[in-house]
């Protein structure tokens, strides 16, 4: 009895205090995370080879659609770089039954958006729409994918405008840096170009577009990915079959990825007179998603230059004030990846900043990372993965990536486990391969008169003029 009342009193005395005060000098202790389960994804195939991925997401009256073809910039013919991207743009400019204006008015009236884009490995018709109009949107997607006619006046306008937008892109230092960087790393292999040239735009004609479309935009080379508030399954499959079932399959030429050139130290300065800072992009060939050391490379990149808690940010920006932005990028493509460091520094500190970055990268290849920073980087990667699932396109775009990069079916379910299993020695050996700087390509965009001299200590500087 006594015992019980005593404990009751103690408890009563303690409770109000605990409710009111909190120790502000220390970070609060967190509860356990609430687990999150990805919505199930069902995969099936139409008889013509079109693969269909479906995931329910009833949070919003919205459907996100991706029709993806394994037909990216790497399939551009050598003499027409940029063809895939022009095909994508021109799909929307007129079909056998609708001109541009009709397509555009239909699309807007559904309460939706649609755009066709290309990356290195794929051409993607992206759409999303209020769920009540899903059927009509799917009909539009099917129409532009299957029935585009590339009308001559629209093609003429596209060519004119593409030349102008290319000029506008060439006014941007970040674009110039990336364009040159890919050229240096991949040479004349298919990943070596990011877009067209003024000359290749001149070569565009209806036949080239049709040839590309008829070769690659076929159902057995495509994935239809739908995420959202979808109709009941049987009804949905009926709608999909109605839109895509009669689409004829066709053999697609095999793609054999050419061997990527060996990375070597090369220093290119793209002269941009009047630049008040130097845009730098440096790095080399990195892993693909399916390489065993992709996850170690990825986690290592987070520690090195992934966000404001990274080594480069804390040193190059916060401590030394050289740059506003400095970060690393792991860009895994289907056949080869890149590992890059990107920054923009003021002209006066080009040499110091570049040396600082190279030292950091080389250190990753020589010393194991600390346990603490490793566990922080893992939490960050896992958290960002979770955050990306909030908007509906998050899951849709992860599914696109899974298919284009040929990732295993359980890729998303095992993502967190794979991040968590990375060890310091794995990062160190990945860094030896992907981060050590002796054979880095270094591309700098800036005013050669101001920055060529300090760059000379890093190698022979090749100065080039930007393309028009």
């Amino acid at each position: 009895m006594n015992y019980r009342s005593l404990s009751y009193l103690l408890l009563a005395a303690a409770l109000p205090l605990a409710a009111q005060t909190v120790d502000l000098t220390k970070p609060p202790v967190s509860k356990d995370p609430r687990p999150y389960k990805l919505p199930p994804v069902s995969e099936s195939k139409l008889p013509n080879g079109l693969t269909i991925l479906l995931a329910e997401d009833n949070r919003f009256p919205l459907v996100t659609s991706r029709l993806v073809f394994l037909a990216g910039n790497k399939r551009d013919p050598k003499e027409i770089p940029g063809l895939a991207a022009s095909v994508a743009t021109m799909l929307m400019q007129g079909t056998s039954s609708h001109d541009y204006q009709q397509i555009a008015e239909d699309l807007d009236s559904l309460g939706g958006v649609m755009a066709a884009t290309t990356g290195a490995d794929s051409l993607n018709i992206e759409a999303s729409v209020l769920s009540e109009n899903f059927d009509r949107m799917l009909a539009l997607v099917s129409d532009v994918a299957r029935n585009a006619i590339f009308p001559a006046p629209e093609l003429d306008l596209h060519k004119q405008n593409r030349k102008q937008t290319l000029m506008a892109q060439h006014a941007q230092p970040a674009f110039l840096a990336n364009e040159e960087y890919r050229k240096v790393l991949f040479g004349d292999t298919p990943y070596g170009h990011v877009g067209p040239t003024a000359e290749s735009i001149d070569k565009l004609d209806r036949k080239a577009l049709e040839d590309f479309r008829d070769t690659y935009l076929v159902p057995n080379n495509a994935y239809l990915i739908l995420v959202g508030k979808l109709p009941a399954r049987a009804q949905l499959m009926k709608t999909i079959t109605a839109q895509f079932g009669s689409w004829e399959q066709k053999k697609v030429p095999a793609y054999v990825a050419p061997k990527v050139p060996e990375s070597k130290r090369e220093l290119v300065l793209v002269d941009r007179p009047g630049s008040v800072q130097a845009d730098m992009r440096l790095g080399k060939i990195g892993a693909t998603y399916n390489d065993a050391d992709y996850f170690p490379e990825n986690v290592g990149s987070t520690i090195e230059g992934g966000g404001p808690n990274s080594r480069l940010f804390l040193d190059i920006r916060e401590k030394r004030g050289f740059a506003y932005d400095v970060h690393t990028e792991v860009a895994a493509l289907a056949d080869a990846g890149t590992f890059s460091t990107v920054t923009q520094v003021r002209n006066e500190v080009v040499g110091e900043a570049l040396q600082g970055i190279l030292d950091h990268l080389d250190r990753m290849a020589k010393e194991p990372v600390e346990r603490q920073e490793l566990s922080e980087a893992k939490s960050y990667s896992n958290g960002v993965f979770l955050l990306s699932m909030e908007p509906q396109r998050g899951l849709a775009d992860r599914l696109v990536q899974m298919k284009v990069m040929n990732q295993p079916k359980n890729y998303l379910e095992t993502y967190t486990t794979k991040i968590n299993s990375v060890e310091p020695d794995q990062i160190e050996s990945a860094a030896k391969k992907y981060m050590a700087t002796d054979n880095d390509a270094i591309v700098v965009v800036g005013d050669a008169a101001a920055i060529e001299k300090p760059l000379e200590k890093f190698g022979t500087v090749r100065v080039v003029k930007p393309a028009q």
Partner: protein, 462 residues
Amino acid sequence: MGRLTRTLVVLLAVAAMAFGAAESDFHIPFEKYKLQNGMRVVLSRDTAVPVIALYVIYDVGARSEEKGRTGFAHLFEHMMFEGSANIKKGEHFKYVQANGGVMNGSTHPDYTDYFETMPSNKLSLALWLESDRMRSLAITPENLKNQQEAVKQERRLSFDNQPYSTAIVDNWPKLTFGNFQSSHSLIGSFEDLEAASVDDVAKFFKTYYAPNNAVVVIAGDFEIGDAKKLVQQYFGNIPAQPPPQRPDMTEPVRAEGKMETVSDQHARVPGVIVGWPAPKKHSAEWYALGMLDAVLTGGQSCRLQLDLVKGRQSVLQYQANPGWPFASFNDFKDPGDYAAFLLYKPNYRPEQIVDQLQQEIDKIGTAGVPDAELARVKALLRYSKVTSLQSSLGRAQLLGQYELLDGKPEMVDSDFTNLFAVTGSQIQAVAKKYLTAARRDVLVIQPAPPSQAPAGAKEGGK
């Protein structure tokens, strides 16, 4: 951290929709209340994904700045990441990232905001981080010096080294506004940034970064009761301050609109900005202007796309919205503007482009907007509402902005209800009355000949 706004990041993208909010069959639940120190709190629960967004928005922006201190609000935003009583320099980033979150801050004409998006079990950590800097920011000469350099570097990166951007941030406000509060450069000059002192920072902190000058929003996966208790624990005892004096933002009486030309050493394709003073925010005319903008520039079948890009083939890209360039439809205080930025083909003269745009507007002023076209625009608005509210952060931002600027988070819905109510004849009337040639300002941005000496780069980065 922090960007001045998101607008410039997508400068060359064709603007799809100008709006960021709401519609009738899709509602965002919220609850709001006030702490004793005057801090306003908005809670919006949605447990679909175990994440939370904490959004803190302060009633101070670039238009609060004093003469000789241009760019100060943004410089101050950077100082907010440099540490406080219990969080050392650099630790803010570390705590957020190491716990699986992302964060940022941004400075706008009429507010400054800070956010963390994190796994939902980290809510108390996010509240601890935001409350510690509201209570006890570390204001030191070293931090100030370091961030002055970072901001100057940001100015070089985002403005001085980019096409069009310097004209947009420095020249356009000066041309179209007469009152210093609105007409000065939001990123600031190097001179003013360097002149900022530790005392300025301390005074600004005390005046504006008080709980009674802030709104705190939590959106996402949490229990309302827990959140209320935590907010009280972390923010409840931060003392209120006297309400800040607000600057007079009244515009002087305008003469005729003006036209100027600047030469841009980085641009290769010519551009032109065309703008008009806007009607009073939230007036019936204001909503009509919002719909007029959507008719002109929203979606794939808008007037500028069909008539200028496709029809006359004179315009390459365009973007426009009420509040352009640094505000959106919903997130500023009067006075506001409506402006469009167009890149055009070099075989046209800028006057021709301005005339063509004016003709598009006059056509609506004369003939109004057909019902089918209005219906299309409204369908797109419904889509825009749904997509902008998909993430916790998207919901938190809109609720917070409406509470701070209007005292009404429910405007997440009602702003859209008001847009839906706009008729074709109201759009016609606002085109005729407000977007006239006489009231119009024009800034032409001409690519400089290649040999010309650098114009905008005063400092060159010493």
